[in-house]
């Protein structure tokens, strides 16, 4: 792959990771983590590890996002105690 495109992907990777760590809203953090996972899958494919990239795209960007969102909907903002 061209190195310019990979550089853009690396910059977006770092930006999405920092956003998912520092953002206040949990739903935004989950979406940003899915974006991180998908960009990481594209980088794996560009480095030649197609199998690892496939697993990252399916599990990291698909299943884990759904499970995190379900867990966020089961929590409440204020405690009941």
């Amino acid at each position: 792959m061209h190195w310019e495109l990979e550089l853009v992907l690396y910059i977006f990777l770092v930006i999405s990771a920092v956003v998912s760590l520092h953002v206040k809203d949990l739903l935004t953090a989950v979406v940003s983590l899915s974006v991180f996972s998908y960009i990481l899958a594209m980088l794996f494919v560009s480095m030649g590890a197609i199998d690892v990239g496939f697993t990252e795209a399916v599990v990291g960007a698909g299943i884990t996002g759904v499970l995190y969102i379900v867990m966020i909907f089961r929590t409440t903002r204020k405690s009941n105690d």
């Binding site: 199998d51 496939f54 399916v58 299943i63 499970l67 379900v70």
Partner: protein, 148 residues
């Protein structure tokens, strides 16, 4: 998730998209020998197609699609297929998962290896799909017990 979405766009998109994700998962499982992918990735794709229906539709529809009682038994059958093929090869005198020694009559060694790997991948895909779906079901199920 229990009552379904009210937006017609979400209902139509999930209904149209889910069978194609499932078909692609089947393709990934059955072409796992000579292309990227395999049992785990195909099983995760099948699970994501089922979970997509579970998020969008109401409870009656997605229980028709894949009943939650079948989750754990089908996963156990998948694990049993994997270890069954491995231990049959072990009993016939080879190593664990030594496909060339499987006792299927009338096949040469290359065909035995082909169908052995296919059986392993079907077992792994079945186990991964049902266990991921039942994890999702258990996460939602405890809602009923604790809410008063």
């Amino acid at each position: 998730m229990k009552h379904g979405s009210s937006s017609p766009i979400i209902l139509l998109l999930s209904r149209v998209l889910s069978p194609y994700i499932m078909l692609f998962g089947m393709y990934v499982i059955f072409h796992g020998h000579y292309s990227p992918g395999g049992g785990f990735q195909g099983g995760a794709l099948l699970a994501s197609s089922i979970i997509l229906i579970r998020i969008a539709m109401e409870e009656k529809v997605h229980q028709l699609h894949f009943n939650k009682d079948y989750g754990i038994p089908l996963g156990a059958i998948g694990v049993l297929i994997f270890f069954g093929v491995g231990f049959i090869a072990l009993i016939m005198g080879g190593y664990f998962l030594d496909y060339g020694l499987l006792p299927f009559p009338g096949m040469i060694t290359a065909e035995l290896r082909f169908y052995g790997i296919l059986l392993i991948e079907v077992g792994v895909g079945l186990a991964v799909m049902t266990i991921l779906v039942s994890i999702y079901d258990n996460l939602l199920e405890e809602d009923d017990d604790e809410s008063i």
